[in-house]
C-alpha cells in the first residue's frame, strides 16, 4: 500500500483520544444520590460483562473511526508496482519484446511493430533514473538484446529503435524465465517485468509451465503485458515448401510443392508465383482457400544450367502480414562429384570391361562441370595418390589390395570418403578377409564367403526383392517393386545374411540374401555390391533402373543432392567433419555477407552455423584443399507464426502465477496505465466509507440503551 500524503498518518495518534476520554469519564462520573442501591447492585452485577463488551466495542469503533479517518486523509492506494511506501529508491525492470514473425502484421489500426516500439519507448519513459533495466528480444541475434540490468536507459532505447521483427516464433515462457533469473540476481528488491506482445498463442509453449518454477518471492514481481494487436485484417500465409528432384543435374525435373492457409472467415482466392534465379517462372491458377483449410499447389520446373539455383515462392496478393508471403528454396545441380573408378587393366573390348557400364553411367555428359568428374585409376596408383580429392571411389572387381593401399583406403574412408566395392571374378573372399583383418575390419562392410552361381535350384538366378524404403540413398527405388524385380542376378558374392551391428542392408534378393550393404566408418562409409556391374553376373546395367539408381546412390553418398535442406529461422546448420579434417567452410548469407563458422572446442567433428535468423538462401562453400564444393540451405519463416490463435488473460494468469498480471490493451496509453498502476487503486473512498460505517455503528451502539417508560 502507498500513501499520497503520508504525513496524515500521524493523525492516527488521535485514536488514543477515546481511550483517554473513556478513562477520564470513568474517574469523573457525576454523583447522584438515590434512595436505595439494593436493586442497582444486583442489576450492575448481572450486566457487568455485557457492559464491558459494549464499552470495548464502542471504544474500538471510536478509535477505528479516528484511525481510519487519518488513513483516509493520507490517500492510501494499493499498488502492486510499488511494494513499500513512496520513496522507494529504484526498481529493476526487464522489458521483453516479442519480435516474432506475427509482429510484422498490419492490423486495421496500423502495423503492430510500430505500436510495439511505441509501447516499449513509453515504458522506458516511465522509468526513473535510478531504475535498472534489461531488454530481452525474443528472436534474432543476441546482439539485439541488452541482457544485463543497466541504468543506461539510452542504450536500451537505441536497441528498441533498431530492433526489427523476425521470422521466427517467440518463446515468451523462456523469456519470462530468463527475466526471473536476471531479477533474482538484482540487488534491488523491487522488480517489474514488462512484456510487449501481440498475445499470439504459439509464443506461449502451448501454455505449459516451464520446468523452472517460479519462486514465492516472484509474487512480488508484477508482470505488465501490453497487447499491441489490433482489429485484425485477413491474412493468407505460405506455410511449407518441399522440393523434389530425381537427380541434381541440369535438365532434371524439379517439383516444388507449397501449402497455403488463410485465416479469413470466408473463402479467399489467391495466386502463387514461383521465381527461380530472380526470374518469374510460373504463376499458379486461382487457388481457392476455404476458411481453416489448407490448399496445396505444385509447380514443375526444369533446372537449366549447372550450379546453385535460388528460388522463392511469392503470394501475389497483399495481405495483413507480408512476412509469411514468401518461401525460399535452393537447388544445386551438377555438384561436380569427384569419382575415382579403380579397376584392373581395361579390357581390349570396351564393353567387356567390368567398369564399362559404370563409367558410362557416371559420365553421361561430357562436361567439365558435369555432375560427376570421373577418373579411372589403376590399383597400383592408389598408393601414391592423395585420395582426399575424391568424393567416391569405386573398386571394381579388384584383387585384394596390398596392406599399404588398404591402409590408405581406410584413412580415406575415415576422413569422410565413400568406398564402394563392386564384386567380380577377381574378388577373392579369402584374400579380402585377410586384407580386412589386417586393417582391423575397417575396410569391408561385411565378410565375403564365396561366389554363388545359378544352379539347378535357381536356374534363372535371383531377383531383387527388397530395397530399403527408409534410406535416402536407395529409397526412391523401393516402390513400386516392379522397377527392381526385373533385375536378374546370375552370380553374386555370398556375404553375411544378417547385418552385423553398424552394417546396413540396403537391398536383398528374393532368397533374403543381402545384395547391397553399407557400413559407416569414421566420417565416411564403405559399401559392397554383392554382384558385379557387368552383364556376366547380372542384367542390372541393361535395365532402366541402373542409371538413376547408380547416379542417385552416388549423389547421396557424396552428399550431393538437388533438394537443399530448408530450415526455420534460428535452426542451426551443421556439417560433420573428421577431427583432423582441414576443411574450411564459408557461409554466404542471403544478404551477401560471408561468414566463416568455426569448429567448437567441445565438438570439433561438427561445424555449427547458428546465425540463421535471416530468411533466404544461404550458400555454403566447402573448401577441401584446392577443391570447393557448393551446398546451400534455405531459411523460411516459421509457419506457426501464421496460426491465428491468441491467448486469453485468464490463461496467462494461470501460466504466470504467482506473478500478478496486468494487461494493457491500449498500446497508445501504456504510460498512463503504468502511472495508474504505480499510483495504485485509491482506497480513500473505501476507508471513508468504513469511517462512516464505524460512526454509524458507534451511534447505534452508544444509544442502544434508550430511555423507555417502564410498565411498572
Amino acid at each position: 500500500m502507498t500513501f499520497g500524503v503520508a504525513a496524515f498518518l500521524w493523525a492516527a495518534v488521535a485514536g488514543i483520544i477515546p481511550v483517554v476520554l473513556h478513562m477520564i469519564n470513568r474517574q469523573h462520573a457525576p454523583v447522584v444520590y438515590f434512595s436505595t442501591l439494593r436493586f442497582l447492585r444486583l442489576s450492575v452485577h448481572r450486566t457487568r460483562r455485557r457492559k464491558r463488551l459494549h464499552d470495548l466495542l464502542l471504544l474500538l469503533l471510536r478509535v477505528a473511526a479516528l484511525v481510519l479517518l487519518a488513513i483516509a486523509l493520507a490517500q492510501p492506494a494499493v499498488s502492486w508496482l510499488h511494494r513499500w511506501m513512496t520513496g522507494q529508491s529504484s526498481t529493476s525492470v526487464v522489458l521483453i519484446l516479442d519480435n516474432s514473425g506475427s509482429l510484422a502484421t498490419k492490423d486495421q489500426n496500423g502495423p503492430r511493430w510500430d505500436r510495439l516500439r511505441s509501447a516499449a519507448l513509453q515504458i522506458l519513459d516511465e522509468l526513473r533514473e535510478a531504475d535498472e533495466v534489461a531488454l530481452l528480444v525474443t528472436n534474432g541475434p543476441a546482439r539485439q538484446s541488452v541482457r544485463g540490468l543497466s541504468r543506461n536507459h539510452e542504450i536500451v532505447r537505441r536497441a528498441v529503435r533498431t530492433c526489427r521483427p523476425s521470422f521466427e516464433r517467440a518463446d515468451l515462457v523462456a523469456a519470462v524465465s530468463e527475466a526471473r533469473r536476471l531479477l533474482r540476481s538484482a540487488p534491488v528488491t523491487a522488480s517489474e517485468i514488462y512484456i510487449v506482445t501481440d498475445m499470439q498463442a504459439c509464443c506461449w509453449n502451448d501454455l505449459q509451465r516451464p520446468a523452472e518454477t517460479a519462486e514465492r518471492d516472484d509474487a512480488g514481481c508484477p508482470i505488465v503485458m501490453v497487447d499491441v494487436s489490433g482489429p485484425r485484417l485477413s491474412n493468407s500465409a505460405l506455410l511449407a515448401i518441399t522440393t523434389e528432384a530425381t537427380a541434381p543435374v541440369a535438365g532434371a525435373p524439379l517439383r516444388v510443392t507449397v501449402d497455403l492457409q488463410g485465416d479469413a472467415q470466408v473463402a479467399e482466392e489467391r495466386h502463387v508465383s514461383i521465381y527461380l534465379d530472380s526470374q518469374k517462372r510460373d504463376t499458379s491458377s486461382t487457388l481457392r482457400i476455404e476458411p481453416a483449410e489448407r490448399v496445396r499447389h505444385t509447380f514443375q520446373l526444369t533446372l537449366s544450367g549447372s550450379g546453385l539455383h535460388r528460388g522463392h515462392l511469392q503470394l501475389e496478393e497483399e495481405d495483413a502480414c507480408p512476412a509469411d508471403d514468401r518461401l525460399w528454396f535452393a537447388a544445386n545441380t551438377d555438384p561436380s562429384v569427384r569419382v575415382a573408378i579403380v579397376k584392373n587393366a581395361a579390357h581390349e573390348i570396351a564393353n567387356l570391361d567390368q567398369a564399362y557400364y559404370l563409367e558410362r553411367a557416371l559420365t553421361l555428359r561430357n562436361d567439365p562441370h558435369g555432375a560427376f568428374l570421373v577418373s579411372s585409376l589403376a590399383p597400383a596408383s592408389l598408393a601414391s595418390m592423395s585420395l582426399a580429392q575424391f568424393d567416391l571411389i569405386f573398386c571394381v572387381d579388384l584383387p585384394a589390395p596390398e596392406l599399404a593401399v588398404a591402409q590408405q583406403l581406410v584413412a580415406y574412408v575415415e576422413k569422410g570418403g565413400h568406398l564402394i566395392w563392386i564384386s567380380g571374378e577377381h574378388v577373392d573372399p579369402v584374400a579380402y578377409s585377410v586384407m580386412d583383418n589386417q586393417v582391423q575390419g575397417r575396410l569391408l562392410p561385411t565378410r565375403l564367403f564365396g561366389v554363388q552361381r545359378e544352379n539347378v535350384e535357381r536356374p534363372e538366378g535371383w531377383r531383387i526383392a527388397w530395397i530399403d524404403p527408409l534410406d535416402a540413398a536407395v529409397a526412391p527405388f523401393a516402390e513400386p517393386a516392379s522397377i527392381h524385380q526385373s533385375v536378374l542376378i546370375t552370380r553374386f558374392m555370398k556375404i553375411a545374411p544378417t547385418a552385423a551391428p553398424g552394417v546396413q542392408v540396403l537391398a536383398r534378393m528374393d532368397d533374403g540374401q543381402p545384395l547391397l550393404v553399407r557400413r559407416r566408418v569414421g566420417a565416411g562409409s564403405t559399401c559392397l555390391l554383392a554382384t558385379s556391374l557387368h552383364v556376366d553376373w547380372t542384367n542390372f546395367p541393361l535395365k532402366p533402373l541402373f542409371l538413376p539408381f547408380l547416379t542417385h546412390f552416388a549423389f547421396q553418398l557424396a552428399g550431393a543432392e538437388a533438394n537443399q535442406p530448408v530450415l526455420l529461422p534460428g535452426d542451426p546448420w551443421q556439417l560433420p567433419l573428421s577431427a583432423d579434417d582441414d576443411t574450411i567452410v564459408e557461409v554466404v548469407r542471403p544478404g551477401g555477407e560471408v561468414v566463416r563458422p568455426v569448429r567448437e572446442e567441445a565438438n570439433p567433428n561438427v561445424i555449427h552455423f547458428q546465425d540463421t535468423h535471416e530468411v533466404g538462401v544461404y550458400e555454403v562453400r566447402i573448401h577441401r584443399g584446392p577443391h570447393v564444393r557448393t551446398a546451400a540451405f534455405a531459411v523460411n519463416p516459421d509457419p506457426e507464426e501464421a496460426a491465428p490463435g491468441y491467448v486469453t488473460a485468464a490463461q496467462l494468469e494461470q501460466l504466470l502465477a504467482p506473478h500478478r498480471l496486468f494487461l494493457c490493451h491500449d498500446a497508445t496509453r501504456v504510460s498512463q496505465t503504468i502511472r495508474d498502476l504505480r499510483k495504485g487503486w485509491p482506497l480513500g473512498g473505501v476507508i471513508l466509507t468504513l469511517v462512516i460505517v464505524a460512526l454509524v455503528a458507534e451511534t447505534f451502539q452508544a444509544n442502544r440503551r434508550e430511555y423507555r417508560v417502564p410498565p411498572v
Binding site: 462520573a29 447522584v32 440503551r705
Partner: protein, 309 residues
Amino acid sequence: MTTRTGYRYLDPAALGRVKNLSLLARGVVEGFISGLHASPYKGFSVEFAEHRNYVPGDNLRHLDWRMLARTDRLYMKQHEEETNLRAQIVLDVSRSMMYQTERALPKLQYGAYLTAVLACLMTRQQDAVGLTTFDQRVRLDMPARTSARHFGEMMTQLESLVDQLDKTPASVGGQGTCIAETLHQLAERFKRRCLIVLISDLYDEPEAVVRALHHFRHRRHDVILFHVFDKAELEFTFRETARFVDLETGEQLQVDPGFVRDHYQAQLREFIDGYRRACSDCRIDYVMTDTSVPYDFMLSRYLSKRSGL
C-alpha cells in the same frame, strides 16, 4: 410554608377534596367514644340490636315493656354501640424517604402531606389519631387522641421532624432502615385494635416486612399501606453514567443507567408485586403511589374505593 390552615402540610384544597369522604374501619374497632365505626361491644346504646331473656339481677331500665305487654314474658333490649376509630399513622422518615427528583416532592414531604390530611380527616370523624415516625428506630410516637389540640401538636411535631431531617446533608449516610423490626415493635405496642396507616417506601427485606404486616393482622389491626415512590425510582429515568450514592448507607456504585434499567425495573416490579400479593393475602389495603400523583387525588380515589367496599 404554612397553609391557610396554619399547618404547613395541611393544604385546604387537598382537604377540600376529601372532606366529604370518610375513612371507615374495615372491621370493628375498639373505640372509646361514639363515632362512625362499629363497635364490637353490645351494650346499651342508641340503636336497638336484639332481645335476650331476663336474667334476675338485670337492670330493669332496659326491659322491653312492650314485649311484656304483648307476650307476658320478660325480655331485655340489647343495643349496637357506634364508637370512634383509633388510628395510628406510621410514617417512615428514613433517609430513603428524603429522595426527590426535580419538580416532585420528596417522598417524606409527600408522606407528611398525606399524614396531615388523613389525620385531619379522622379527627373530624371524631376518630383518635396518633402518629409514629421511624427510621432505624422510632423517632416520634404520639398516641391516638381525638382532640384538636392533639392534632395541632401532631402537625407541629411533624413539621419539626421534617425540617430537621431536611437539614441533614444527603452526604451524611444513615444506617439504613429497619422497617420490619420497628413494625414488629409497633405491633406489640398497640394493644387495642386500631387502624394502622403505614406510609413508607418499604426498602427493607420484603419477607421480613411482610411478616411484620402479618403481625399487625394477627393483632387484628386494620392496616392500610401507602407504598410511596418517586417517579424516578419507578422509571429510572437516568441517562448518563453516574456514581449513585445510597441515601441511607452512603454506599456508592458506578452505574450506566442504559444497561441496568431493564433489570432494575424487573426487580422493582417484582418487589412491588410481592408486597401487593402479600397484602392481598392478609387483607391489607395496598396503595402504590408516586410523588408525581397529587396525594389528595390519590387519597380521594382510594377513600372512594374503600367506601364502596
